[in-house]
Symmetry: C2
Subunit: 357 residues, 2 copies
DNA sequence: GTGAAAGCGCTAACAT
DNA sequence: ATGTTAGCGCTTTCAC
């Protein structure tokens, strides 16, 4: 009934493979054993097979639209080429940029990325279990806080882990972070260069390494300049709202403040709100600096002077560290710090003008 | 030499499971067959097993730190609970927000998300192959353009697919999009309400559904109001740079323009640049509207009047559509449109003031 | 250079 | 209610 298949190449790469061809089918069609087909199709083992057989198998595989089943291969080899990434908030630009860096770099190494949001610690623990049970080869955590239970669990599991943007004070695992102390020092020196002497620090949450280290950087830079360390007010979270609240406390504490160095751009924008609420102009009355150089902070009013973090690079460094860890789990945990850069814009100005308010 | 293990519960939940326990080991330790252990541990089949055996198995499993190997289970059941997501640019806030919505909703259904950036079409095609070979149950595409080869490939594979933020004109697959025509009509009506009659459209790329539909919405709204349709200039990409270039062309084409309705916030910000370059004040000389309500556009100068898209909702709707598709692949492809909202801010003002320039 | 056989860890008929 | 058996699709000894 059916017309005989003619030998010319079919128009489409085989009829739509409703059910994907399996290695066994390829082998049968090529008249070889499936182990031979496996070897022929795998670049690592193809050299074991005679060129003509290899060619025939490859041709048949292409005709049948064969695709290696990575799931089955992973089960057999225990190599999934899968990495899990945990972030606190996907909607946050900082983590989106880091994730972009991670994904791009992992793709270069033909790894796939399983991404999940760990809003709370409990959720994080469950996610680790689920990622382990999917046999991810390693994890990148952007969520880590002080005494983090998720990190602890990863260590228990012996799961190769790297941190990004957050450091582990105990240095038990590799981490890629910005040089937080130096970044804040950059901001403080910039303000001092403009003549500011009364500088307050709008700090981040102190159980996050960025929050803690940037506060340390602030103190150190002030001391080094021989200045009395200004007031430090930690915000409850890295948000505009928390920033505004903390900035208000900061202004309450020290009336004569001429500059605020914030631990993060969103906090700095919160400070804009607090200043506006008191009729204090920025930068005329009070200068403000941020941290991160998020997209669009060059267009806010006034354009935010900030410390640029190479977020994508942070992501790709974390990948490098993780892959190293996967290859040599017992090697010492490398800490990579990226170099921050000050981006001067309109939110900082010389301190010589007296405040009106 | 080693002290005998005493019977008290060990301090830690078993000694660190260097090598995770397997179902067989649990079964052996509980004195049952591994299929019994499997049934006992699976909520779906636990009712087949007597309560006491179930309890014993559960207890042993907990003691040994047993974790079901999802990889092996998936191979057996052909259900991976894995969904692939393709976005054009992870670093773009719009897609980050959509991804957040996708991830959150998929997590509720205990699906995991494999995310990848498809920068070009070739890359997209390869990614589809790789996702197929990982046996993702379905795909969400945020990358689709006119006559998209990636979408075509998904259809060939018979892979359940849903689109997000982009529509397929042929409606071959389900899609969750904003109501692009209505969104743009909102902006145009707002401008007309302020007395603007000479309005230009800073359009998006015309091979992307948002670009095309928003342009259509612009035309329709102008005609409906009995106005002559103003000039339309498509930008090469949804970026500030492309927006500035296209806005310059727009201003060249029609000198008397009092308002620009942009297809996207970044394009609108590009228009800010073009206006500033010509000494035209916004909104005094020319009003500008955007589209998306990206984070921080409320803080740029002037604060951008824009059309808010519920990006996270878009993501969760896409997930709903995809899961439906996975359940009933042959059902008609539903199109979901979310309702846009105009957010009036400082970049639009009444048209009565004459331009100085 | 190729084939045969075993098995990764799990689940789902099919017994009993 | 539980055990037996047979794979999912692949890779990798081990033979020849």
């Amino acid at each position: 009934m059916a017309p005989p298949d003619d030998a010319r190449p079919s128009r489409v790469p085989a009829q739509s493979p409703r059910t994907a061809a399996t290695l066994q089918q390829v082998a049968d069609a090529a008249g070889v054993h499936r182990s031979t087909a496996s070897r022929a199709l795998n670049p690592e083992t193809a050299h074991l097979i005679s060129p003509d057989v290899s060619a025939r198998v490859a041709e048949v595989a292409a005709r049948l639209g064969y695709r290696r089943d990575l799931l089955a291969a992973s089960l057999r080899t225990s190599r999934t080429r899968l990495v899990g990434v945990l972030v606190p908030d996907l909607a946050n630009t900082v983590f989106a940029l880091i994730l972009a860096g991670i994904e791009r770099t992992l793709a270069e190494h033909s790894y796939a990325v399983l991404v999940a949001e760990a809003r709370g610690a409990d959720e994080g623990l469950e996610l680790v279990e689920s990622l382990v049970s999917r046999r991810t080869e390693g994890l990148i955590l952007a969520t880590v806080r002080e005494d983090d239970p998720v990190l602890a669990r990863c260590l228990e599991h012996g799961l190769p882990t790297a941190l990004v943007n957050r450091a582990d004070p105990a240095r038990r695992v590799p981490a890629a972070t910005p040089d937080d102390r130096e970044g804040m020092a950059l901001a403080v020196r910039h303000l001092m260069g403009l003549g500011h002497r009364s500088i307050g620090h709008l700090a981040g949450p102190q159980d996050i390494s960025t929050g803690k280290l940037r506060a340390q950087g602030f103190r150190a830079a002030m001391r080094k300049a021989g200045l009395k360390v200004g007031p430090i007010e930690p915000a409850a979270a890295y948000t505009r709202e928390a920033g505004q609240t903390a900035a208000e406390r900061l202004l309450d504490r020290q009336a004569g403040l001429t500059a605020i160095a914030a631990a993060n751009d969103l906090l700095a924008l919160g400070a804009y709100g607090a200043l506006a609420a008191r009729g204090l102009a920025c930068p005329d009355a009070v200068s403000v600096t941020g941290h991160n150089d998020m997209p669009l902070v060059d267009m806010v009013h006034p354009p935010l002077t900030t410390v640029r973090i190479a977020h994508e690079q942070l992501g790709s460094e974390a990948v490098r560290l993780l892959l190293e860890r996967i290859a040599r789990p017992e090697a010492p945990a490398t800490q990579v710090r990226t170099v921050p850069a000050l981006i001067p814009r309109g939110s900082t100005a010389p301190a010589n003008r007296r405040r009106e308010g």
